[in-house]
């Protein structure tokens, strides 16, 4: 049993959005509707002349205390033994209670138009056969094959570090506990498993 998590080193992100592209092809997410499982926020901070550009890649935080899971009436949202928060597409009724509850904008609807377009693009080889609410899975299908999530292995600057937070020898554990990394919106008590090293 692992406790998977990610550290994002904002000091090295260059905003190339390769992670978004890798994710969308790996997981057939509806880029045609401008919906992604991971985004790179590109913000300005401060006022002239003291202005900084902030690049903040974001995704589902796979929270320990999971508001989306509590809000989901159908049990479609569930947590694996490894702490990954997933959606069972066949069980999801698309009520959006999870989207309202998620404090990190991590979910979006995979609508029937998106399913149709997906079939046009990918033929029989589709992964989203019915409309549902979609989110990042930490690429658990790749983890099962001992591969890293697509965004992690694609990132040219190694901004994303993935692994078992409970394994003291892992890079992700060392960075997450180094004192340099913090979680977003900690005050909400969600205990995210994605951490950020500020730029």
């Amino acid at each position: 049993m692992a406790r998977y998590g990610m550290v994002i080193d904002m000091r090295t992100c260059v905003g190339c959005q390769a992670c978004m592209a890798a994710c969308t092809t790996e997981n057939q997410t509806p880029f045609w509707s401008d919906k992604f499982r991971t985004h790179v926020e590109d913000k300005e901070k401060g006022t002239y002349p003291d202005v900084h550009r902030i690049l903040l890649p974001r995704l589902c935080m796979h929270c320990e205390n999971t508001p989306c899971l509590s809000a989901c009436p159908t049990g479609a949202t569930y947590k694996t033994r490894d702490g990954i928060v997933l959606v069972n597409y066949d069980r999801c009724i698309g009520c959006y209670a999870c989207c309202i509850a998620c404090p990190y904008d991590a979910r979006y609807p995979y609508e029937s138009d998106d399913v149709t377009r997906e079939k046009e693009l990918y033929g029989k080889n589709v992964t989203h056969e019915v409309p549902h609410v979609d989110k990042c899975t930490f690429c658990e299908h790749r983890i099962a094959e001992h591969r890293e999530p697509a965004c992690v292995s694609t990132c040219p600057t190694q901004t994303r570090i993935f692994g078992d937070l409970d394994d003291p020898s892992s890079a992700v554990h060392k960075l997450a506990t180094s004192g340099k990394a913090t979680a977003l919106n900690q005050g909400l008590g969600t205990s995210p498993k994605v951490f950020y090293i500020p730029s």
Partner: protein, 304 residues
């Protein structure tokens, strides 16, 4: 920090919340009036039937907003979710309301042949449990009304919603729309017994509007003095003319003024009848606008 309007729940869910509150409250008030005050049975049957209709219609709006409405039965899986409880309350309500309303339908001569087809054993059982169904249904109606607020208050990142003041506001507003709807029925009804109850209803509605104003004041007070998304939401509402004019002035203050006039100056004369009907209609429109605008004003507070 960025504030982003939620676009997940729109007018369909606002309609669901409105009809849920209206239906639940209409039943609760009718059954309580019946039990403790006595009320014209014909008007009562119309009230209960329409409250069932409101909840059926509300449920249709909820289902229409879903991606997979045909799988809606799965919603009875997770008791930590408010939607789970909504489904439980609404179904319990339907059961109690149907048990309660069937004996009342005997008041309608045209429906008698249908009622007579029900075996007498069942009919007498329904009669026997009539008071219990009234009480159970009222409790379920109240729970549905408060649930409409609890559902949207379970949003940690939408601070305007994430407060116990919101369910309270929806309870007062829901009960006020229920009282207004019954008042409307009693002004339309030609029966003396139905008109008699309107005195109680206008007093009840006026009290509910005053309570709603107090909760509204506390709610906005909380929202405006916290440096969070709640303040942005409150400011957004202050700059929405239809919220101020349609809900606050036309949906609360004007009906309250009319009802106060009705209570103190018109001495329950029939000349205030059409004015009261007008006030009731305004309360109903205001109740819808409140839910529509509260949903619209939901702002996520994102940490980036």
């Amino acid at each position: 920090m960025t504030f982003v309007h939620q676009h997940v729940w729109g007018w369909q869910i606002a309609t669901y919340l409105f009809l849920g509150g209206l239906g639940g409250a209409t039943f609760s008030i009718s059954a309580i009036l019946h039990l403790f005050e006595g009320c014209d049975r014909k008007m009562l049957s119309v009230a209960v039937l329409s409250s069932i209709g409101f909840l059926v219609l509300g449920t249709v709006f909820l289902l229409a907003d879903m991606l997979q409405p045909l799988k809606a039965a799965y919603a009875l899986t997770n008791p930590n979710s408010w939607i789970f409880w909504g489904v439980v309350f609404i179904n319990f309500y339907f059961l109690a309301a149907i048990v309660y309303v069937i004996p009342l339908l005997e008041e309608w001569p045209k429906l008698l042949p249908i009622i007579k087809k029900i075996p007498t054993g069942i009919l007498s059982l329904l009669e026997r449990f009539n008071r219990l169904a009234a009480l159970g249904g009222s409790a379920a109606g109240f729970l549905i009304t408060i649930y409409t607020g609890l559902l949207i208050s379970a949003a940690p990142a939408i601070s305007f919603w994430n407060t116990p003041a919101l369910p309270l506001l929806f309870v007062f507003s829901g009960f006020s729309t229920g009282a207004a709807y019954l008042l409307l029925l009693s002004t339309i009804s030609k029966k003396e017994g139905a008109w008699k109850i309107s005195e109680k209803l206008e007093q009840l509605d006026a009290i509910l509007i005053v309570s709603e104003l107090i909760v509204l004041g506390a709610y906005f007070n909380f929202a405006l003095f916290l440096p969070t998304g709640a303040r942005e939401s409150a400011e957004y509402l202050f700059h929405s003319p239809l919220f101020i004019i349609g809900f606050f002035i036309a949906g609360l203050l004007i009906p309250l003024a009319i009802e106060t006039y009705g209570i103190f100056f018109a001495a329950h004369s029939t000349k205030s009848k059409s004015l009261l009907a007008f006030a009731s209609a305004l309360v109903l429109v205001g109740g819808y606008l409140l839910r529509f605008y509260v949903l619209n004003a939901g702002l996520y507070q994102y940490p980036w």
